[in-house]
């Protein structure tokens, strides 16, 4: 009997379920999939952003690929990604482990820790710009020469500031992920290790770190793919400068397209950005064997 009645509701479900997915699909196709295809198409055209669009073959690609600005932007993007990963990961693991503890004062500290998560990149960048001002900022006010340098005016320093502010903004998020990861480690592992006489440090490297493997992969994926989209923070903080010291790919795309009105070459940069993102996501998935993280997570 059941065999006879089953097919009919299933057929009914077939008729309605795809319609439930339709609204999300329509918006996503219109404003994400079509633009994704469009960016490839536009990279073979000439457009100033206002007038007519003219096909121009490989002109944009030729212009972009022969421009020394491209390897430079790729290198800066890679540096921001690598250095901010290397700064954020150990600190986030440490803070996450610390926050997973039970002392009450940790919970109090936690209230302050996570405030940066609420702030927009624009607000953070503007506050830091004022704070780091060599004449009117915090260092100048305290009359400490070491702190009143031209932080955003020198290439090396500006790069360091970008990494620092990125870490200031995102370490809370990642330590939150690690806190959740640490809390899921079975207590019995530590008790047993203690009975075995393993010290605090051996417990950390023997239990905590190996148990956090998937958390580390998730967090790293988010950091690495997310770093491709540090647009607002860097744009407001340094506008890519001084010179091109902090001109990452996303910024290069914006400046070529919306400031220099060269939408063709800007689209070519965007295509490169998409390819880099896809390559990284595939690489990390191969390493971790888990879902690749979201790219637009860390600020859109």
């Amino acid at each position: 009997m059941t065999n006879l009645t089953r097919p009919s509701p299933r057929r009914e479900r077939r008729s309605i379920l795809p319609w439930l997915a339709a609204p999300a699909l329509v918006v996503f196709v219109a404003f994400a999939v079509v633009p994704l295809v469009g960016v490839f198409v536009l990279s073979f055209t000439t457009w100033d952003g206002i007038g007519a669009i003219h096909p121009s073959g490989l002109d944009s690609w030729r212009a972009v690929l022969t421009d020394p600005g491209l390897p430079r932007a790729l290198w800066v993007t890679f540096l921001v990604m690598a250095v901010s990963w290397a700064v954020q990961t150990p600190l986030s693991v440490l803070l996450g482990t610390f926050m997973a503890g039970r002392q009450r004062y940790r919970a109090v500290l936690g209230v302050v820790y996570f405030i940066p998560l609420m702030l927009s990149s624009a607000a953070i960048a503007i506050a830091y710009k004022a704070l780091l001002d060599p004449n009117f900022g915090l260092g100048a006010g305290l009359k400490i020469p070491l702190l009143s340098q031209d932080w955003l005016g020198r290439p090396g320093l500006a790069f360091g500031v970008v990494v620092f502010v990125v870490s200031w903004q995102f370490i809370p998020f990642h330590s939150l992920i690690y806190q959740g990861g640490v809390q899921q480690i079975p207590k019995s592992l530590y008790e047993a290790a203690q009975l075995d006489g393993a010290g605090r440090i051996r417990q950390f490297f023997g239990i905590t770190l190996p148990q956090l493997k998937y958390t580390i992969i998730t967090s790293s994926t988010l950091m690495v793919v997310g770093s491709l989209t540090f647009f607002d923070l860097i744009y407001v903080l340094t506008e890519g400068g001084p010179g091109d010291a902090t001109r990452v790919l996303a910024l290069d795309m914006y400046k070529r397209g919306f400031q220099a009105s060269l939408m063709g070459p800007a689209s070519a940069i965007a295509v490169i950005l998409v390819l880099v993102g896809l390559a990284l996501a595939l690489l990390l998935r191969r390493l971790g064997g888990r879902d690749a993280g979201a790219s637009q997570l860390e600020g859109a």
């Binding site: 998730t218 919306f258 998409v274 979201a294 637009q296």
Partner: protein, 300 residues
């Protein structure tokens, strides 16, 4: 994993520490995570100082600002800076941000929930599997790379410089992660409950809203919070898709305000505090919910 406990050996090894119980008991609570504790306090200073400086400086009169110690609060705090910010049309920008955030988050979450339901319930339907694949691809691609075609589409739809221009792409950019998180939770609803709804003759539409929605309410809240934060703090879309001052959202208004009043550091910081205030109020009341909302998709 060398310290993974082997249950069979623990009794033998346990005998040794048991003999020294008094010492062991003394040692256990003292075995603090000193590295974590140190990092915790240092990080507290790193997070708190810029926040504290921003707040107290925003309450200083501009004339006094340059002469005073930057870390000492003003003896006679003033709200003049805040008055200047509010008189610069920030109420309008606040309303704009509210309209864009609500206008994008509600459809984004509703559409994503319907799609997540369809994807989980219609696993066997090839078309829905393809749609799911499409959304997952959206996670791996930095969607900001598509802003140039988005800009073109918005112009062609005659939506440039309107709030709707910000809402539509924001919905699309929110879909992939929202569907992923919501589908994870719909999948956890016991199959028996769906079956009993079907036996009662409920349609998929009824099952969606009467069964799946109440059971996944925490996830829906989570996704709502995450998207609201992202869209409220968004900078790139308002930057490229609007032009007139009265279409600005808060982050963009903050940035232009800083461009206008750059030298007036206390006023700029008052604007930073004011644009952040709504989120800080939310944070004060629903911190736990907000924080779990931020990481829910990743710590599972």
């Amino acid at each position: 994993m060398t310290t993974t406990p082997d249950v069979t050996t623990t009794p033998a090894k346990a005998r040794h520490p048991l003999k020294t119980t008094p010492r062991a008991r003394q040692r256990l609570p003292r075995r603090r995570n000193w590295a974590g504790g140190l990092a915790g306090w240092i990080w507290l200073v790193i997070v708190a100082v810029p926040l504290y400086w921003t707040l107290i400086t925003s309450l200083k009169a501009q004339s006094r600002y340059y002469a005073s110690n930057p870390l000492v609060p003003s003896a006679d705090p003033t709200l003049d800076n805040y008055r200047l910010v509010i008189e610069s049309d920030f109420v309008r920008y606040f309303v704009n941000s509210l309209v864009v955030t609500a206008g994008a988050v509600v459809p984004a979450v509703v559409f994503s929930f319907m799609a997540a339901y369809a994807i989980v319930r219609g696993r066997r339907i090839r078309g829905l599997r393809a749609i799911n694949g499409l959304f997952l691809m959206g996670l791996a691609i930095p969607l900001q790379a598509t802003v140039i075609p988005v800009y073109l589409i918005i112009i062609r739809l005659h939506l440039y410089d309107s709030l709707l221009a910000l809402i539509l792409p924001s919905i699309a950019f929110a879909v992939p992660l929202s569907v992923l998180v919501l589908a994870n939770f719909v999948r956890d609803v016991p199959k028996e409950l769906f079956d009993s709804m079907r036996v009662d003759g409920a349609s998929e539409w009824t099952t969606l809203w009467r069964l799946a929605a109440p059971l996944t309410r925490p996830a829906i809240l989570t996704v709502t919070i995450f998207n609201a934060l992202t869209i409220w703090n968004g900078f790139l879309l308002p930057l490229i898709l609007t032009q007139s001052p009265d279409r600005r959202t808060l982050p963009l208004a903050l940035w232009t305000f800083q461009g206008q009043y750059g030298v007036n550091v206390p006023a700029v910081l008052a604007a930073v505090v004011l644009t952040t205030l709504p989120l800080l109020v939310l944070y004060a009341f629903g911190r736990r919910q907000l924080l779990s909302g931020l990481t829910a998709g990743f710590s599972r």
